[in-house]
Symmetry: C2
Subunit: 139 residues, 2 copies
């Protein structure tokens, strides 16, 4: 049975779910940053997914990218599948701006997360939900 890794759960806020992946918002006001977690048990690498699920995941990455672009108007989208610290397969989709807290370096391991304040969090979650009409409520 799929169960979200506790570290991922602690670092992120629920947004909703695509057909395959749970969608979470990294609770770091430095970067508009979604995390997609394919809701299948025991996954660590992209190659652990069946090819059809991999294709679905790619389209979910594209949908998350488009939503971040609509909401945050970034200069670049960064996508990463690392898992060096949290082994459960998860995909980072991050809106980057020239001059942001880590630019032009990667966001991973760069500085200390700054949790959203209540207003900013609510506003961003509303905007993301509006930009992601295909989302369903995460189970």
């Amino acid at each position: 049975m799929f169960r979200l890794d506790p570290r991922l759960a602690a670092d992120t806020l629920p947004v909703g779910a695509f057909a395959l992946s749970r969608v979470r918002l990294m609770n770091d006001a430095h970067f508009p940053w979604l995390v997609l977690v394919p809701a299948r048990a025991g996954l660590q690498e992209l190659t652990d997914l069946a090819p059809a699920d991999r294709a679905t995941l790619m389209e979910e990455i594209a949908a998350a990218s488009r939503a971040l672009r609509a909401v945050a108007r970034p200069d670049k989208i960064n996508v990463g599948v690392l898992g060096n610290i949290v082994a459960q397969l998860h995909v980072h989709v991050v809106a980057r701006r020239r001059g942001d807290a880590a630019w032009p370096g990667p966001v991973w391991g760069a500085g200390t997360p700054e949790p959203y304040d209540d207003d900013d969090r609510a506003r961003l979650l509303d905007a993301l939900n509006a930009a992601l009409p295909d989302l369903v409520q995460a189970k």
Copy 2:
């Protein structure tokens, strides 16, 4: 017309080509590290690709991951699409080992590349070509 970005060309060595992507080896002996460059002009983001090409790219990422696993026996594969410095769409597929020069952080922006010596480069390119039977010669 597609033309490999000069910075990517300078930092990497040719391995071959998949149906969509050129396959290059990052010339950094710290990490067995492939770079896939979809050979279409004007791409910057995954969302610039047609959905069918995105699915093909995903399978090429999986094939590169499997080849690196066969050749380098890593603890984790890291995949990244950044483009903050080189805008041309390219995908990093990196074999990571616990205790490697950047572990558990990301490889991007971590330290100075160490070019392969002639013997190690030849050996690795041979092993990658053997592990990637679907590769064709890059044009």
